[in-house]
């Protein structure tokens, strides 16, 4: 009879602290090596791209001596490894160099374009999650029914339709024909010179400025591309939710919950979904990261001055500082999102809280 209390796991604080440091150190190593890899790969790409970076600065018609001078100024005549070392040195000092295309320091540009993309991706993810999760749950609960099939087809269509296609169609219908939403861009020009960005997230800025007219306008602009991205993340989220829910619903603890006399609603939303939420966090995080990086086409269609467009444009002009900077930002966000989803995972799943 004495085994009762000793069978509770001993919690030794020093062990936990050690484990914490170990995992923190491991994390730092992971981040550092990932960064270095990112840098190296991007750098390599920058060198193999058959575009003369000088061209972007001086244009096609510059005299030969100007071309040569600029090439030297950019350090492009140095051996590759020296260029790489120089670059890494700069990055370590927080200097990502200057973008050729915009003439701004890359960091300045990114501070401008990244919030645009992030705001869009956030709205998209919120829409995707708010609609995707209930749909997924519904499909799982009514597995095999018509509802299930409909939800699946909605999701599959989301997986299968080219985004730029839907985007233009959406613009045509909701903006041009019906006039329900704002058009391309982040807001109407009327606000361009009255509105002062603070954080770069315009919705938030409008709230900070208490500029409700601007808020309405910004919202009407973001809702269409946001809904579009939201649909794509909905496709993914609802599908994964369905699969996680099916898994949870087949667990013994669901039977136990029924044996307790709980209502189905409570079992589904309180027990099964609460458990499915654990892996769902990762899914939502991944889909968020996907939206951050995968919105080039949406940004083109909606003239959204975002990161995807910035990177693509830079790449096409061999503006490698900008490409590297953008990639590192996306990489960092990816790492940060991974970290965040790990933390959330830990919060949501007591089994991993050691």
């Amino acid at each position: 009879m004495s085994t009762t209390d000793t069978s509770i796991k001993p919690r030794r604080t020093n062990r936990r602290a050690l484990a914490f440091f170990k995992s923190a150190a491991g994390f730092v190593v992971i981040v550092l090596t990932t960064y270095l890899g990112l840098l190296a790969v991007t750098f390599f790409i920058g060198r193999v791209v058959p575009i003369d970076p000088v061209l972007a600065i001086v244009g096609d018609r510059a005299p030969a001596h100007v071309v040569e001078r600029v090439r030297q100024e950019m350090g492009l005549n140095l051996p590759y490894y020296q260029q790489f070392i120089l670059y890494v040195k700069g990055v370590l000092q927080g200097d990502f160099g200057t973008s050729v295309l915009t003439t701004n320091p890359v960091m300045t540009d990114i501070r401008r374009v990244f919030p645009a993309t992030m705001e869009l991706a956030t709205v998209g993810t919120i829409i995707g999650a708010v609609f995707g999760i209930p749909l997924g749950v519904l499909a799982a609960v009514k597995r095999g029914s018509l509802t299930d099939q409909i939800v699946r087809v909605i999701g599959l269509v989301g997986y299968s339709v080219p985004i730029f296609w839907l985007g233009l169609l959406g613009l045509l219908v909701f903006y041009a024909k019906l006039g329900w939403t704002g058009g391309p861009g982040r807001m109407d020009v009327v606000f361009e010179y009255t509105f002062t960005p603070v954080t770069g997230f315009y919705l938030i800025d409008a709230v900070i400025n208490r500029d409700w007219a601007a808020f309405r306008d910004i919202f009407s602009h973001i809702i269409l591309p946001g809904a579009l991205l939201g649909y794509f993340s909905l496709a993914y989220i609802s599908r994964m939710t369905r699969s996680f829910m099916l898994n949870e619903l087949s667990q013994e603890y669901i039977v136990a919950a029924r044996a307790k006399g709980l209502s189905e609603t409570r079992i589904i939303w309180g027990h099964a979904l609460r458990n499915a939420a654990v892996p769902l966090v990762t899914v939502i995080a991944l889909s968020y990261a996907g939206l951050l990086e995968g919105s080039v086409l949406t940004e083109t269609v909606f003239a959204w001055p975002g990161l995807g467009l910035y990177i693509t444009n830079s790449l096409q002009n061999a503006d490698m500082n900008a490409v590297l900077g953008g990639t590192i930002i996306i990489g960092s966000v990816f790492i940060a999102i991974n970290l965040l989803s790990d933390v959330l995972y830990r919060i949501l799943d007591p089994r991993t809280r050691n």
């Binding site: 009879m1 085994t3 009762t4 209390d5 069978s7 509770i8 796991k9 667990q251 013994e252 603890y253 039977v255 136990a256 919950a257 029924r258 044996a259 307790k260 006399g261 709980l262 209502s263 409570r266 027990h271 609460r274 458990n275 654990v278 949501l348 799943d349 007591p350 089994r351």
Partner: protein, 277 residues
Amino acid sequence: MTALLEVENLRVSFPTRTGVVEAVRGVSFTLGRERLGIVGESGSGKSQTGRAIMGLTPEHGQISARKLEFNGIDLLKSSQAERRALRGGRIAMVLQDPKYSLNPVMTIGRQIVETLRTHEKVSGREARKRALDMLEAVQIRNPERVFDLYPHEVSGGMGQRAMIAMMLVAGPELLIADEPTSALDVTVQLEVLGILDQLVVERGMGLIFISHDLRLVSSFCDRIIVMYAGRIVEELRAGELANAKHPYTQGLLDCMPRIGKDRHPLPVLDRKPEWAL
């Protein structure tokens, strides 16, 4: 003694792609405020019998019975909501493995409280107190602490006790325990049985105890039902195990090695097709 539960000609079947699987084929018994054991080998339909009484048969399963009455309530005719109100309130079931049958992301305390508040209108504080009392009743030394632990943080034995507490907190009149101890160590197993026994005695609860261990059941229960291929092949009083008539029961008893009895080779069960008819 009035019958708490009456089961007559209970059948459970599952249509599958390869034909209909008849898991339970005409089981009948009555239960008073006593300990009834159900034994039988794997797949003989013990769990499905228990689940059918609870109303927990998987969706695609089909149940039929001539009579399925709990305390005069016809379970076959009652609505989903009525069944739900009974479940966990007046009839409870302890599942086999605490590792899987406790919700891993909810503290043990909350899971117990949840049962209580589903069936009784009680304040949060009151519910907590009752849950703590219940934990104490199942011999948990430090209920306050265990209340806030997650299932993975406790051992199997303690988890099983928590499960029992969760099922008993609303004070059921009938408890179905489906192999509640097979995942546990011999020593812990006995502790858990001790608790169940005490509850039956103290609360006057009816207990259906499902197990495949004939010897354990006979030492614990008042009456034993032996199932084979979805049917009851024999019903015995616990003391009369030695006089079992059915060759299956006899074989089950016989084939277990026993300390002090040196039999090499062990006698094995020779299944006859006619048993399953």
